[in-house]
């Protein structure tokens, strides 16, 4: 079963990250790398991407002419997607366990950040014959 684990952060958190100490930044990066290594080793890793800082993020809508209308979102939005993991696991419980580990990544001074991780199951393309 595949799950996506979405790491979100607040505007304050995103701004605060810029003033982390070098040691804290490196510790957090090492934590993420170790997680990916463990997931590959356990045969559960599918994908992981980190997203660029949300300052330049745009929301795009098509106008009546079909052309894009873009809005900056950083000033208004409270929460941002920071990155995601896709894992292929035996159970939902295992996906939650990985999410909890992700959530407990080290922040300033090595303190557990307890970040919110949204866990969603990815739909399959299974085509069982309907009755």
């Amino acid at each position: 079963m595949k799950y996506i684990l979405m790491m979100t952060g607040t505007k304050a958190g995103v701004e605060g990250y810029k003033s982390w100490s070098e040691k804290d930044i490196q510790a957090h990066f090492a934590f993420l790398m170790a997680l990916n290594e463990d997931l590959t080793e356990s045969g559960e890793f599918v994908a992981n991407e980190g997203l660029a800082m949300p300052h330049q993020a745009k929301v795009v809508r098509a106008g009546t002419d079909g052309l894009p209308i873009t809005d900056g979102v950083f000033p208004e939005a409270k929460e941002f997607l920071l990155g995601y993991w896709i894992v292929d696991v035996e159970s939902a419980a295992r996906a939650y366990e990985i999410a909890a580990r992700l959530s407990a990544g080290p922040g300033p001074g090595g303190v557990n950040l307890s970040m919110p991780i949204e866990v969603r199951q990815i739909m399959t393309g299974r085509r069982d014959e309907p009755q």
Binding site: F45, G125, R127
Partner: protein, 422 residues
């Protein structure tokens, strides 16, 4: 220099022999990884030499001999290395198997399958290992079929091997007492591989259809090694008859089409004919099992020229038998459907209530979808719509969600139409 890429005929010959050769080596040397390497080297040697010098009279014997020679060299080198490292002169000589012929009573393919479908493995590990060891698929191909990165799949396969080794009973041939149980898990893994391919969507996942073909090929291989086993034959029959419906089960926009609405002229008649012949042979042996029964149900469907000609009393009788020997909740669900077709939807709904109370299927979308279908048969449109939507909320499958929402939409549009018309 000749091109080492094997000719198509030579390649399929090698693919057929590879599992036997690997099985023989694993059985003698009990070293999976090293045996796999040695078999790869032997296959490469064959692919370069056979097109030039001709295929040897006994190709399998040739491959086993070359592979075991490589294996023996490897063990000797390894032992020598260990001697140098530890200076332990008491190291025993490796057993050199000079008699590696094809004279084994228990077929090596079966032994290899018993090992790959080891009870200590999860289903997904057993599937990966079986495809790697017997399927002749590369790790990259298996990874693509399951939509995971190659490194992840490589790790799964390697962990599976370690687990078998750690369990300590990896390479033993099961005793007569264990055999039936171990064979059941082998058949289950083959069935899962088939199903992975069968239920996969087309388009970007087209690769996965190869999984069904591979499962059928492996089941044929297994059947050759134990032709008297009625359940192996039954499984092959079931796969063929299920596969025969492949072209009919999706529409032009990839939408799911229920059995009752499929264009039966699209069913593959040759697969059906072979499946029925196999099933007839299996049933004559007298020991009935879950695969023969499911194949028998598939055969009853296959024999009906139109959905409304289906012999539902016979299907119900077969599901009643199947329910007695299988505790799979899906069997109970299908039994309820068959009961509804014979005794009316109210009887089916009553069985569904009992299943819901029973717990194994509580919250499963298939139960809700079946309830919706039977409620529609009873004529309770609003309740049917509600249950189709509950099922759509619960399914993990995108094509199925689309199908269930379409059913709900069809019923609500019909209701709106009749209100508008009245």
């Amino acid at each position: 220099m000749s091109d080492p890429t094997p000719q198509p005929a030579c390649e399929s010959l090698l693919r057929d022999h590879a599992p036997h050769v690997l099985g023989a080596l694993v059985r003698r040397f009990r070293e999976f990884d090293a045996a796999e390497d040695a078999v790869q080297e032997a296959l490469l040697a064959a692919a370069t030499q056979w097109p030039l010098q001709g295929v040897p009279e006994n190709p399998r014997g040739w491959l086993i001999q070359v592979a075991s020679r490589r294996m023996t060299d490897r063990i000797r080198a390894e032992t020598a290395r260990r001697r140098r490292e530890t200076a332990a002169a008491l190291e025993t000589e490796p057993a050199v198997a000079a008699d590696l012929g094809v004279d084994t009573e228990e077929d090596d393919t079966l032994i290899l399958l018993f090992m790959c479908c080891h009870p200590s493995l999860t289903a997904s590990s057993a599937i990966a290992l079986t495809l790697r060891a017997l399927g002749g698929l590369t790790t990259a191909e298996i990874a693509r079929a399951f939509l995971v990165p190659e490194a992840t799949m490589a790790q799964r396969i390697s962990r599976a091997k370690q687990k078998i080794k750690a369990s300590g009973l990896g390479f033993q041939v099961p005793t007569a007492g264990e055999r039936a149980q171990r064979l059941a898990s082998v058949l289950h893994v083959l069935y899962l591989i088939f199903n992975e391919g069968y239920v996969a969507s087309s388009g970007p996942q087209l690769q996965r259809i190869e999984l069904s073909a591979e499962a059928i090929r492996l089941t044929r291989l297994l059947r050759r090694s134990a032709p008297e086993d009625a359940e192996i034959t039954g499984l092959l029959a079931l796969m063929l008859m299920t596969d025969s419906r492949r072209a009919a089960r999706t529409g032009p926009h990839d939408e799911l089409i229920a059995l009752a609405h499929q264009d039966r002229s699209l069913w593959d008649r040759s697969e059906i004919a072979e499946g029925i012949a196999l099933l007839t042979a299996a049933l004559a042996k007298g020991s009935i099992g879950i695969y023969q029964l499911q194949a028998a149900i598939a055969a009853v469907h296959a024999e009906a020229p139109r959905a409304e000609d289906s012999d539902w009393p016979q299907i119900l009788a077969l599901y009643t038998l199947l329910k007695r020997i299988s505790d799979n909740p899906m069997v109970a669900l299908n039994h309820a459907i068959a009961c509804a077709m014979v005794h009316g939807p109210a009887a089916g709904l009553e069985l569904l209530d009992r299943l819901d109370a029973g717990g194994a299927l509580r919250g499963h979308h298939r139960l809700d979808a079946t309830r919706a279908h039977l409620l529609e048969m009873v004529g309770d449109g609003p309740a049917a719509i509600a249950y189709y939507r509950i099922a759509a909320d619960r399914t993990e499958s995108l094509p199925e969600r689309t199908y269930l929402l379409s059913q709900a939409a069809r019923l609500s549009e019909a209701a709106a139409g009749s209100r508008g018309g009245a």
